[in-house]
Symmetry: C3
Subunit: 346 residues, 3 copies
């Protein structure tokens, strides 16, 4: 894909300064851009890059004042950041512009598939599955019996959806993620063995959710594991049976949420954190990476850290002292000696 | 699937109180049930739900005494919990009742497949593979050369089994789990590069093992990585080369076991724990979530916590003091001042 | 596969002592070997096994002196360890000796595939993909548009490579690993929702890299996520967008590297470690398992531990005191009492 400054300017409703015929074929950060690249400057802090960049074209804000001579072609727009984001999106749309039903996929005769749906080769769509419009089902995806999927949903290659799952609109799930496998439920017997507890609930994923790659979300024992509207989950996250994650909560990679935990709305949870089962996390909670949350968080909107977690500030204060512990211990031993002498003196 | 109270009562060898013709089509917890649901009451603690539930039918113990008027239909049985579990199992059996060889699967001419085996579309069964009776090989499963599989085994979609693996009877492996990939073995060379050490051992999984989704179990360098009878592994667990996990040990999600570690029987290991290589864990050990086990555990049946782990009680005691460290440090500084004054006084 | 001592000796340029016609069909450690096994002795420390082993054939160093009578057949070679490694490699080469294009794979008409390439059934090779010579693309692998792959590359079953990725020579990627899924980038809006930031960069994997199973490496927002020459990554590792991992760095399982972190060359990073975003790790750093690296490491070649991490030695010292904290607290309380009494005495 190649575009001239003139063409881009038209798309973005901007004005060109410099050569309108110069062409670009890739997008790059202003400080890393080569000839043939399109870049942007939104933050005035980085103005100096404008005079040194190798980008062929740079998008800038309408009101950007130039303080040095310039060698690159400029496109002035209302908001450089938004304009560039728009181009990123268009680029992605072109790259992901798959359509049609590829040969060698399996679609059960009872499945209902909406309009303008891409089904890749080797995708498997089981009995009674319902898929809305404008969905993209990439190769090697498996969708089991009775799954219901909304509109504008993308499953990247290798996503596996177990039976009875319900997926909302505008959901994106990346490769290797498993939705609806059995929860980890076993009843101990007196001889030390375990008996499986059948997991007959399902998983519900509401609208506007995005889930990264190789994440696992288990079905409920009974009822539903629920991922609410607007949740964003990163890669390699574990969500156990009967968990509920509140709207617009964001969770970073490799975090684990144990069975029946309920996480509120608008929480931000760092990577490699762990949340024990059957607790509630108040809405707006911010949990640091690697934290271990071992009991319910009741107060909303606070920061937590450590394992077991305490308030972020308390954790910071303790952490500082931990690093001084060897000195502190020495000090105590010295004090003991002095006191022993003092007592002798009495 | 829809059943009347009468039909269910016959299945469960029970007696109906109320409308024998009322029909149910789903299973639910008594406190969450809607009209059309079947539920149960086993624990007398929750008796009050019996009078408020919206379930159409509730299974109760034969000897349950009613203290208030009731609007739902009851089925009285010997043991309400067992009866309900039986129905859960039946439900699951119907849901997972796949059979036959679907088109577009790959079965090598030298593979031997038992009776009543389901092979899903796009499943791959390689040369010399042996599969027992009543197995379910879901779509997108890969079974490499010379793998041997027992009876009543289920591989959910996308399981990958590398060559030479041996899988026992009644094993369940969930989607995305990888059995027998190369162990992580490299010999450092003097120029800073690493040379791969060929990993020619295998993985042995004994009877009655269940493994969650996206877990990884590496093949041994030589010999076998062994998962003993009755082990239950959750999702996203790492089991390195030459590890042995003892019978009926249960491990929660995201835990990692390093190379050549030997874990005893009947251990319970929490999520996100880590076990270093070449150590032994005594049977019956209970390891808290997020623990780091850095040396062998010799005494059987004890609880451990922390990273590096110490006894659970010691860890709890230290943890309490850690949260008081800032005050403790202040106290020490005050004591120092006082002592300095006292000494001056002398 | 079965070989006589004579045949093996010829391959290894050795000399036989004992029965040249005895046959072996498997490789085993000397202490675990059964009849029919081939083993080796390189480390004189284990000499006693030579006299007790059940191996049918043992490879030993040319100059190994025997101090007891022996029942097994020996092959004497220049270097027993190297000779045995060579056999391991040959064994593996035979086991992994796949070739040809299997039926039921999808190769886009615009894809270019080199000589002597294996493409397994149900593999998917998209538009404009370029694959070099001697590659092995196992079943269920997905290679998206415009991916470029070098020579001697192996993708085990179920690897997924998103569009625009660039893979060097001699790269091995194990099952279930996802290369190039979207980075975790979202812009918060004022109403608490998040807007996706398009991720249009790619992933570059240089020569001689090996990656374990179910690992995830995200594409860059812009520019590239880069895995340099000779890097070895274990299973279930998370590598976020715009990360760079230096040449010959080795990372153990379940470690996570956050966005835009730059890790130097020849680092050794243990399992379940976490590295925060936008920091640099100096070359030659050694990071203990479960560490949390929260700021840049500037000094090269040092050991780090703890979360947040400090120098390995400092961490060890603090850790020792942590386990003594309850006693230490008692001591402080006693000191306080004594001092109060001493003051009264004044």
């Amino acid at each position: 894909m190649q575009f001239t400054a003139q063409e881009l300017s038209l798309m973005l409703n901007g004005t060109v300064e410099g050569d309108p015929l110069v062409a670009v074929n890739q997008l790059a950060k202003i400080e890393e851009a080569n000839a043939g690249s399109l870049s942007f400057l939104a933050n005035p802090k980085y103005e100096q890059y404008l005079y040194t960049t190798n980008a062929s074209v740079v998008i800038i804000n309408k009101d950007q004042v130039l303080s040095e001579p310039i060698k690159t072609t400029l496109i002035r727009v209302e908001n450089a950041y938004s304009a560039f984001s728009l181009l990123l999106e268009k680029y992605n749309t072109i790259k992901l512009n798959k359509s049609g039903i590829e040969q060698h996929c399996y679609i059960h005769s009872s499945a209902q598939i909406g309009e303008n749906v891409y089904v890749g080769a080797f995708a498997y769509i089981g009995p009674n599955v319902k898929i809305g419009n404008n969905c993209k089902i990439y190769p090697h995806t498996y969708i089991a019996d009775d799954v219901v999927i909304g509109n504008n949903v993308t499953f990247f290659p290798g996503v596996k959806i177990y039976f009875d799952s319900i997926i909302g609109n505008n959901v994106i799930i990346h490769s290797g993620t498993i939705i609806g496998a059995d929860g980890f439920g076993f009843a101990p017997a007196s001889d030390g063995t375990y008996t499986k507890i059948s997991q007959i609930g399902n998983v519900i994923i509401e609208d506007d959710v995005e889930i990264g790659s190789n994440t696992t979300i288990d079905r409920a024992t009974m009822g539903s594991t629920i991922i609410r509207k607007g949740v964003k989950l990163d890669n390699l996250i574990q969500v156990a049976h009967n968990v509920e994650i509140g709207a617009n909560t964001v969770i970073a990679a490799q975090t684990g949420v144990s069975g029946s935990a309920k996480i509120g709305e608008n929480c931000i949870i760092g990577g490699q954190a762990g949340i024990v089962g059957h607790i509630n996390i108040a809405k707006g909670s911010q949990i640091q990476a690697k934290s271990g949350i071992s009991r319910s968080i009741v107060i909303e909107g606070k920061k937590w850290a450590g394992a077991p977690a305490v308030s972020y500030n308390d954790n910071m204060r303790s952490q500082v002292v931990i690093n001084r512990l060897p000195e502190l211990e020495k000090k105590i031993i010295e004090l003991e000696k002095i006191i022993t002498e003092l007592r002798k003196g009495h």
